[in-house]
């Protein structure tokens, strides 16, 4: 996997978020403040534009630029959390021109760890981590990771939120999918899709 692969991953993810923005916002409307779709669409469109303009030469540089762009354009909790995920993973990849599956797993594991620390959340709190952690655990098999992320997002439906804005609702947060876990599933579906096309 080279820089081109990582650029295709994130532009594919940007298209998926664009397509699903209204669904993400509807999920957020039930237990949050109805802006996750429009925020992620704005951020991922900016990521696609930045990657196009700068064409970073290494996988690490692609992820660093994408993370920095998300922090600067998204706001809310999603900006810092997704920004940290990609920046931390990008740092872990260093200057390598090409990345093997095991290196990708380690990098995204470092990113997921940083997200958990920043948000003070753990698996089961009904956040993006409920999709992210199972996906990372299923790597380096990209298709398995995508499936694990989707199942993780589905599993948030039954949970009571303990972090983020949905936590204000207490037991009323039960019965709804966490929007952050849904957008994380899109990210891993895009990763599997790009690998299939390669």
């Amino acid at each position: 996997m080279d820089a081109g692969f990582f650029r295709r991953w994130l532009t594919t993810a940007a298209r998926a978020v664009e397509r699903d923005a209204d669904r993400l916002t509807a999920l957020d409307s039930a237990i949050g403040d109805a802006d996750h779709g429009s925020n992620m669409r704005r951020g991922m469109a900016a990521v696609a534009a930045a990657l196009d303009a700068e064409e970073p030469a290494t996988p690490g540089a692609v992820l660093l630029l994408a993370g920095r762009t998300l922090v600067s354009t998204v706001g809310g909790a999603s900006g810092p959390l997704y920004g940290t995920l990609l920046r931390r993973a990008g740092k872990a990849l260093g200057d390598a021109e090409r990345v093997e599956g095991e290196e990708l797993r380690e990098a995204l594991a470092a990113g997921a760890d940083a997200v958990a620390r920043l948000g003070g959340a753990a698996q089961g709190d009904k956040t993006m981590l409920d999709a992210l952690l199972p996906a990372v655990a299923a790597l380096p098999d990209l298709a398995a990771a995508a499936g694990a992320a989707e199942r993780g997002a589905e599993a948030t439906v039954a949970l009571r939120a303990r972090r983020g804005r949905a936590s204000y609702l207490g037991e009323r947060s039960e019965g709804h999918m966490d929007p952050g876990s849904a957008s994380t599933a899109l990210l891993f579906l895009a990763l599997a899709e790009v690998a299939d096309d390669a």
Partner: protein
């Protein structure tokens, strides 16, 4: 849903353009989304910076001016601003005396202001932070994100702003801001859901004849849904919850706040009921403010904020303020 907008993506930019035209005493940077008082940085003065999602007007941009905030950063609707905006605001208002960030306790606001504080300190700006978390409807436990920051934000910004205007140093302004934040509690009620431009409709469904108790200011449902009550019944419930925890042994500041779509006719009537309950409970009310100050787009409903006030806080509350949203004494 009919809204007076061009397009959801343009709402904030359009509003900032209009605000710049209506308030030449402010410098409104529409591109970078920072609102600064025109005479900043004021020599020797601590800079007060706040910000948060748009949709709560006049909070925060409407509270920029002498006696209150030096700068505000509006985010997208109901979305916290990004660190770049906050760093730019801090740099614009820092006279060397340091900058206080007033942060409402929402995950997004906290994370972005934390990142901004680090970046600003890298640029040599002294930064202090105060977290506002006054909403009693949220159980403050390890199983939630903690209490939301709502109406008390106005008390913190006004009182800390007055202290900064008098020339108090950063440590003192910060201590006063903490005292106000720790002495204030709020409780909110929704009579209807707000409509966000992004969704193009109401954020939750509230059937006629019912109301939501314990709401925040982002269109999220509350803790509990009940049959509609009278203004007096709502005041009994709200003030009762506040006093049970606040336990004031002296005068209080009271804010009777509209959420955006409730007319002043109703708010003043509700304010009278709030006053009745406080009188019944023997709590002296030193000052009352009634109006739409910390709103939630076009949500119908209201909130009550009480702050235990000592003489120093009352003096600073009465000090002159000159902003688009709050103005007295000069």
């Amino acid at each position: 849903m009919r809204m007076l907008i061009n397009a959801a993506e343009r709402v904030v930019a359009d509003a900032l353009r209009g605000m710049a035209q209506a308030h030449p005493e402010l410098v409104v940077d529409v591109e970078h989304r920072v609102i600064v008082r025109a005479d900043a940085p004021v020599a020797g003065k601590v800079g007060l910076v706040s910000g948060g999602g748009s949709g709560h007007e006049p909070l925060h941009g409407g509270f920029v001016g002498p006696g209150m905030l030096d700068a505000a950063c509006p985010g997208e609707v109901f979305t916290s601003p990004v660190p770049d905006q906050m760093v730019r605001a801090a740099a614009a208002v820092d006279s060397g005396a340091g900058v206080l960030f007033v942060v409402k306790n929402y995950t997004g606001d906290v994370l972005n202001f934390d990142m901004a504080a680090e970046l600003a300190e890298d640029e040599g700006i002294r930064v202090a932070k105060v977290l506002v978390r006054d909403d009693v409807a949220v159980e403050d436990s390890t199983h939630t994100a903690g209490r939301r920051g709502t109406g008390a934000t106005l008390f913190v910004e006004k009182i800390a702003g007055a202290a900064a205007e008098e020339g108090a140093p950063l440590e003192r302004v910060t201590a006063l801001a903490r005292q106000v934040a720790d002495s204030s509690l709020s409780f909110g009620v929704a009579l209807g859901a707000p409509a966000t431009p992004a969704k193009g409709g109401p954020t939750f469904d509230l059937p006629p004849g019912e109301l939501e108790l314990g709401i925040g200011i982002h269109g999220e449902p509350g803790r509990e849904r009940r049959r509609m009550m009278t203004s007096g019944g709502i005041a009994d419930a709200a003030v009762g919850v506040l006093l049970d925890e606040l336990r004031p042994d002296g005068p209080v500041l009271a804010l009777v706040n509209g959420m955006g779509a409730t007319p002043l006719l109703e708010l003043y009537g509700f304010g009278a009921e709030v006053r009745r309950v406080l009188d019944e409970r023997g709590v002296p009310v030193a000052r009352t403010l009634v109006g739409n100050y910390v709103t939630s787009l076009d949500m119908a409903g209201c909130s009550v904020t009480l702050c235990r006030a000592d003489e120093e806080l009352l003096r600073l509350w009465d000090a002159p303020v000159s902003t688009p949203g709050l103005r007295w004494g000069r």
